[in-house]
């Protein structure tokens, strides 16, 4: 359903800060794939997700979604197909708007916005039920400004927003990394639930190898702007952290020692 063909991206081209972030990424996702993405710092994980979301244009290569070439489509237009949750809990919600207002914005993703009410009476009811299902007690604070919520609560709301209108593709970029372990687990479980209930296709970046093995049906490893390892099915289920570390060392060579700590 999603295909990346030889996607390249160089930041700050022609300057001293030139950085090859993607050096030719090839990746094909099938419908219903839930892929975990691992790799050391600077491997290009976030950059791949940003390339798919259209945060900036890629330098070369093509990105196809459901047989439509979306390479040239601006970010806001791709949003009709793509739901996203970011590492930074601040990034996915509008802090100065209420919980229900944020959800109402998300409920119109991919639809033309006109002079109709920004939020309707039925939506109030619907959002209440959805937020209640999160089981965080937020349903009684629907008119609270999102900026007053904790990071975990904000990520939960962002997850809900990303999936409110069923996306073709869900992109999760270390969306639990900024949370304490308990909250992180809660948000991760919620992600699992949302993905399986809606049968979503998803890419989830994580620094936690155990999580990468435990979640999803497929795992890819990135290094130096490339996908260097891609496993799925039984083989992935039987993976151990030590296997991944070994793979990683093979690919990354001497740099592996420092990155190893990050990965484990």
């Amino acid at each position: 359903m999603l295909e990346l063909k030889n996607v390249k991206k160089v930041f700050n081209k022609g300057t001293v800060n030139e950085k090859v972030a993607l050096s030719g990424v090839d990746l094909v996702l099938n419908d219903g794939d839930f892929v975990t993405v691992i790799g050391g710092n600077g491997a290009g994980k976030s950059t791949v997700l940003n390339a798919i979301a259209g945060v900036w244009p890629v330098d070369s290569g093509t990105i196809t979604l459901h047989d439509t070439d979306i390479t040239a489509l601006p970010e806001y237009k791709r949003a009709q197909y793509i739901g996203r949750v970011f590492q930074d809990p601040m990034m996915g919600t509008a802090a100065t708007m209420q919980i229900d207002e944020n959800l109402a914005i998300a409920a119109r993703r991919g639809k033309a916005r006109g002079l109709k009410p920004g939020i309707t009476a039925e939506e109030h009811k619907k959002f209440y039920d959805m937020v209640k299902a999160l089981d965080l007690g937020l349903e009684d604070r629907m008119t609270t400004k999102v900026g007053l919520l904790s990071g975990g609560q904000r990520q939960a709301i962002t997850l809900l927003m990303a999936s409110l209108r069923k996306p073709d593709l869900l992109l999760l970029d270390e969306h639990t990394a900024a949370l304490d372990p308990k909250t992180a687990k809660k948000v991760l479980d919620l992600s699992d639930k949302i993905i399986s209930e809606n049968n979503l296709t998803a890419l989830m970046v994580t620094h936690n190898m155990k999580d990468a093995i435990a979640h999803g049906n497929r795992l890819i490893m990135m290094s130096e702007g490339r996908v260097i390892y891609d496993v799925s099915g039984e083989e992935k289920k039987n993976l151990k952290v030590s296997d991944l570390l070994q793979k990683f060392e093979e690919a990354a060579g001497e740099d592996a020692v420092s990155d190893r700590m990050v990965l484990s």
């Binding site: 949003a79 990034m91 509008a94 802090a95 708007m97 993703r109 916005r113 006109g114 109709k116 009410p117």
Partner: protein
């Protein structure tokens, strides 16, 4: 003291007209988080357009509507400069403001065009302060009601989301560039409308009418926030900006009564705004607040 009391109605009338201008500033400064300096130009444009049309025989209402539309256009150009050409917001506003100076002169044909309240049917005038206050209050109420309705719509919400968090807005399918253009246009439309009223109030359109307008608008917004706080509904916050403008003009009247030469007014305005903008930092102890990083 008596002189001050006599000056009070005039301050309220001026404050109300500038309060309408402040509502426009609120939309860019607070809703969009965009410091737009085009208003110095578009305030004057509104006055020039309204006065020239009325001198040409137009009725006051259509003249003010056209003033509003020219303001929209001016703001839209600032939005274009910023969103298409990626010119930083402040600079985009300055460019529009500078360009408008020539356009305002061209509209008026000279630096100042008088319009006499005796010969023309003006909406407001400093000769009729009570009427001015009543008319302005009605206009303020109507504008706040319309804006309240607009920012409750899907487009209005999208503009608010754009101002709050562009990343989130784009991830939710909002064309943030378009929202910025619409917001800045709307803001300048309102500012030009206020400029059209102000020219009538003064009895002339002047090419320097808008000089420092942004500072007065900001002062109004900030005085309103400092005095009444920010934990209010959207409509109330617009209203506190208007009250802020009135308070600003009362302060000016007091200072003038105390004997400050009027040539020092702009310096006074600048100091007032600096103090009110700096209040949070002052409260926290000067120097402990790190300067905001550029975005």
């Amino acid at each position: 003291m008596l002189a001050l009391l006599n000056a009070l109605p005039g301050s309220v009338a001026q404050g109300l007209i500038w309060g309408i201008m402040a509502i426009g500033v609120y939309i860019t400064y607070r809703v969009l988080d965009f410091a737009d300096l085009s208003v110095d130009g578009s305030f004057c444009t509104g006055g020039a357009v309204a006065v020239m049309l009325m001198l040409g025989g137009w009725n006051v209402v259509p003249a003010l509507i056209v003033a509003f539309l020219t303001g929209l256009l001016a703001g839209y150009i600032t939005g274009l400069l910023h969103t298409y050409l990626k010119i930083p917001g402040i600079l985009a506003g300055i460019l529009t403001q500078l360009g408008l100076y020539s356009i305002n002169l061209a509209i008026m044909g000279k630096a100042n065009q008088a319009i006499s309240v005796d010969k023309y049917n003006l909406a407001v005038s400093l000769r009729y302060i009570n009427k001015t206050i009543i008319v302005s209050i009605i206009i303020v109420v109507v504008i706040i009601a319309l804006l309240y309705a607009f920012f409750g719509t899907e487009i209005g919400s999208a503009i608010r989301a754009t101002g709050a968090n562009q990343n989130m807005a784009r991830a939710q399918g909002i064309n943030t560039g378009r929202c910025i253009r619409m917001g800045v246009a709307l803001s300048n439309g309102i500012v030009a409308f206020a400029g059209g009223l102000y020219a009538q109030y003064q009895g002339n359109a002047d090419v320097n009418a808008g000089r420092g307008a942004i500072v007065i608008g900001l002062a109004a917004v900030i005085i309103g926030e400092v005095i009444f706080g920010t934990k209010h509904s959207f409509a109330t916050k617009l209203a506190t900006s208007v009250v802020g403008a009135i308070i600003y003009y009362i302060i000016i009247a007091i200072v003038l009564q105390l004997g400050l030469p009027s040539s020092y007014l702009k310096l006074l305005s600048a100091c007032l705004v600096a103090i009110f903008l700096g209040l949070p930092a002052i409260k926290n102890g000067i120097g402990t607040v790190k300067p905001d990083k550029e975005d």
